[in-house]
């Protein structure tokens, strides 16, 4: 089942990547990033089945980081929306000096 799981993981990752690149809605982009994370998690779990429990522990950490990321990221989105009345990433270019 290992190879199949890895293939699924790759497919999900590609879908996630596509989503990040084609969507303009910051929240959806965010969701797609979560999808990518999940794809990677899947690989971890698949390998973990054969190589030991550490893979699962990594997934555990990834999930916590994802939760933290979601909290902060959503807060940023809220804060930006308050200012620009939009979550369309093409409407703001804050990320430069």
């Amino acid at each position: 089942m290992l190879v199949e799981a890895l293939v699924l993981s790759a497919i999900l990752f590609v879908i996630g990547t596509l989503g990040v690149l084609v969507r303009r809605n910051a929240i959806i982009m965010f969701l797609c990033i979560e999808l990518q994370l999940n794809a990677v998690n899947l690989s971890f779990v698949a390998f973990s089945r054969y190589l030991g429990i550490e893979g699962q522990i990594y997934v555990f950490f990834v999930m916590t980081v994802a939760a933290a990321e979601a909290a902060v990221g959503l807060a940023i989105i809220i804060s930006i929306f308050r200012h620009y009345e939009s979550v369309n990433v093409e409407n703001f270019n804050l990320l430069k000096w």
């Binding site: 089942m1 190879v3 799981a5 890895l6």
Partner: protein, 174 residues
């Protein structure tokens, strides 16, 4: 049986993934995402990661996705946006890059099943034995609170910082 279940879950996950990307309504995307997460949780069970499957459903599909939903609702984004999906050059570039990645991954995975390394791979027996001895939670908890305890505590701090940070950022400016 397991293989059949796997393919069912896999199909659901891929379908959900496309749904996330293609659905114009954010709430729709979100629901597809929940579906994908649940399917992946199913696959986790098949891969003997019962504990992760549980928290995938509870934390990911439950808590985090609800958080997203709250935000969507809060910002009143629950309707279709025509220009949400790129078109033209942007779309082409996105597909080009994604395609390239897909190609590379496919090239890497093609014939992975015949990889001689697999012959040397230990079977799932070790994991099954571990689970049998310590239980789904014990197997993951034991290393987590011994070898990885520092990282574990740091994650706690990270979450706390994220919490404070999120509050600070989202707080309405006085």
């Amino acid at each position: 049986m397991a293989d059949i279940l796997f393919f069912i879950f896999a199909a659901m996950a891929i379908g959900g993934g496309f749904g996330v990307v293609l659905q114009k309504n954010p709430v729709g995307s979100l629901l597809f995402m929940v579906g994908t997460l649940a399917s992946v949780a199913g696959i986790y069970v098949l891969l003997d990661a019962h504990f992760l499957a549980a928290i995938q459903v509870m934390v990911y599909a439950g808590a985090i996705m609800v958080l997203f939903l709250f935000v969507i609702m809060l910002l009143n984004l629950g309707h279709d946006y025509r220009d949400d999906i790129k078109s033209g050059l942007g779309l082409f570039a996105a597909f080009a890059v994604t395609g390239a990645i897909a190609g590379l991954l496919a090239r890497q995975l093609r014939g992975a099943g015949d990889n001689p390394l697999l012959a040397h791979f230990p079977g799932p027996e070790g994991m099954e034995q571990l689970l049998a001895e310590q239980g789904a939670i014990g197997a993951i908890a034991r290393p987590l609170f011994t070898d990885y305890v520092v990282a574990f505590e740091l994650t706690g701090i990270l979450l706390l910082v994220a919490l404070v940070g999120a509050v600070a950022i989202a707080k309405r400016r006085v």
